[in-house]
């Protein structure tokens, strides 16, 4: 407040002392506005990555294929690829009953959930050509990238348990959706507890 009063006095004092002299009237330049930058393509992004098989629309009982990642023009596959997981059909039904649930903000596998992991491990040991995808999820009570990492940590925790039971780690793939795919609608603890989960998806042997 004192600052404001002081500055008001200063301004006033200068007005009275100078009587308006010393003012500048700047030239009036015309500032041209540049046109819009070169257009951003707002239509389909060109060129789209060409998938050999299109992925069919997701339906609960369909087995959908993970597409092959195309090679670069020089034949190399850069920046990683999904290796032996590529080209395997997905079966969401086989392990549907074995979804594992987590406490808020935790990635540790609870003792009460271990029997489900054991069932998944048993199946995979008996069917050595099958692989598995573990999808990690979170409830919405976290920020998005934090949840994406936490969902991955949960999937990796489940993977570690399967590996500890004798399933080769190279047969287990993780994929986090963070909070992007809640199990159902609802914004209370009943709904949130169902969202904090790992789902197991059977990956069929390659043709």
């Amino acid at each position: 407040m004192k600052h404001l009063i002081f500055t008001n006095l200063l301004v006033l004092g200068l007005v009275l002392a100078l009587g308006g002299t010393g003012c500048k009237h700047p030239q009036k330049p015309v500032t041209p506005i540049q046109g819009q930058n070169p257009t951003i393509r707002s239509g389909p992004i060109a060129p789209p990555i060409d998938l050999g098989n299109r992925i069919p629309a997701d339906s609960p009982n369909s087995a959908s294929t993970i597409p092959q990642i195309p090679a670069n023009p020089d034949g190399s596959i850069k920046q990683g690829d999904l290796g032996d997981f590529e080209g395997r059909a997905m079966d969401r039904e086989a392990f549907k009953a074995y979804t594992v649930y987590f406490d808020f903000d935790k990635s540790a596998i609870k003792g009460s959930e271990m029997s489900k992991l054991e069932s998944v491990a048993d199946y995979l040991k008996k069917n050595p050509k099958d692989y598995v995808l573990i999808e990690g999820h979170c409830d919405e009570r976290g920020t998005e990238e934090y949840n994406r990492a936490l969902g991955e940590r949960r999937a990796l925790a489940a993977r570690e348990k399967l590996a500890a039971q004798g399933v080769g780690a190279e047969r287990i793939r993780t994929l986090s959706y963070g909070e992007d795919k809640p199990a159902g609608p609802g914004h209370d603890e009943a709904a949130w507890s169902k969202n904090r989960r790992c789902e197991f998806v059977r990956l069929l042997p390659k043709e």
């Binding site: 407040m1 004192k2 404001l4 009063i5 002081f6 500055t7 008001n8 006095l9 200063l10 301004v11 004092g13 200068l14 007005v15 100078l18 308006g20 010393g22 003012c23 500048k24 009237h25 700047p26 030239q27 009036k28 015309v30 500032t31 506005i33 540049q34 046109g35 070169p38 951003i40 707002s42 239509g43 389909p44 992004i45 060109a46 990555i49 998938l51 992925i55 990642i69 850069k78 920046q79 990683g80 999904l82 997981f85 009570r141 976290g142 920020t143 998005e144 990238e145 934090y146 994406r148 990492a149 936490l150 991955e152 940590r153 990796l156 993780t174 994929l175 959706y177 609608p185 914004h187």
Partner: protein
Amino acid sequence: MNLLLTLSAKLALNFHAPTIRLRQALAALGVLSTVLSFPATGADIQAFVLNRPAGLAERPVPISISGFSGEVDSALKFDLTIAGFTNVAAEQTAILVSGSNNGSVQGKVTDRINRAVLLSKAYSGGSLRAQAHALADDIVQLLQHHPGVAQTKIAFKVVNGGSSEIYLADYDGHNPVALTQDHSIVAAPSWVPGKRILYYTSYKLNNPDIYSHNLTTGERKIVARYTGLNTSAAVSPDGRQVAMILSKGGSPDVYVSDLEGGNLRQLTHTKEDESSPCWSPDSRTICFVSRLRGRAELYTVPAGGGAMTRLPTVGAGSVTEPDWSPDGKTLIFTVMRGAGFELATVPAKGGQVETLVAGEDPTWAPNSRTVVFARRLGGGRRGLSLLDVPTKQVKNIVQLSGSVSQPSWAR
């Protein structure tokens, strides 16, 4: 003397200042008299009146805006409010912003007390809205001595039904454009500094992979597609490297590579998960979140490799999604408070946390003062808002039928 006192008292009342004591008035006049010996121009006056020390708490600076209409009027007032000004009646301020927009925008900034014209400009070309933004930026440069942000861009994520796309818009949410149409899931858009190239995560190929997307040519390249998680790409301010979160090593860790994803180096090696890397302005240090001690906290690591060091955030519980101000002084991030999220800041070396407003996932504008962030609207939806950190003025900017989040400011 008496006249001066009367006039000064009147001005003081107009500014809603408390009654001034005679002794204080005389003391102020005493200082005044020494300054009177120096010549002063209109520019000096406005510089003195408006040059405030940079700090985290400021009052909005009163100005009076008149003469504009329609979209120009609303855009100009929006721009100047979020820049830290407040629009008041002419009698209540020394600074008048006036002009017109008959066909094109003309604007003038006047020091009412001194009757000095501080700025007088006319604009041509582009849309009226663009001209209004240009005038706002010129006013901000004049009165705050740094560039305005009214002509900058943001990118963000829009969720509709089960899929999400990356969008680009003006900083105020106008002119939104979809950059993707993949009908997949996207996340974490992040700009290459100074360029029209965006990095983001997309599940288009049934895995969270990091893409670079050249907005001018439309070309997209895969930067990281390892098994597991590839996300949270952040390009260094010097434009040479990209930090990211990869889980290929068995747990989500911070990695750094060149812009194409080559020369990959792992910077953290913890069993717990790391997330959300961001860069110091000199591109030498990366700040990120780790749950090393069992909850989300801030750490730093040298971009060239080395030990990770915890950055204390006193007074905050879980801390996520940090962003480092371009001037290097402040980290802004999200804290959980009870059932909600709040934006908060801490000095870049760590220390006491100051909470600001309800919201999450903030990103700094190039001016290290304005922030764009997401707010929860209920029912699982989010929208975008702008915050002027020093004055805490907030403006909501994007609310679409779906959910809008994860903004990134082009800088």
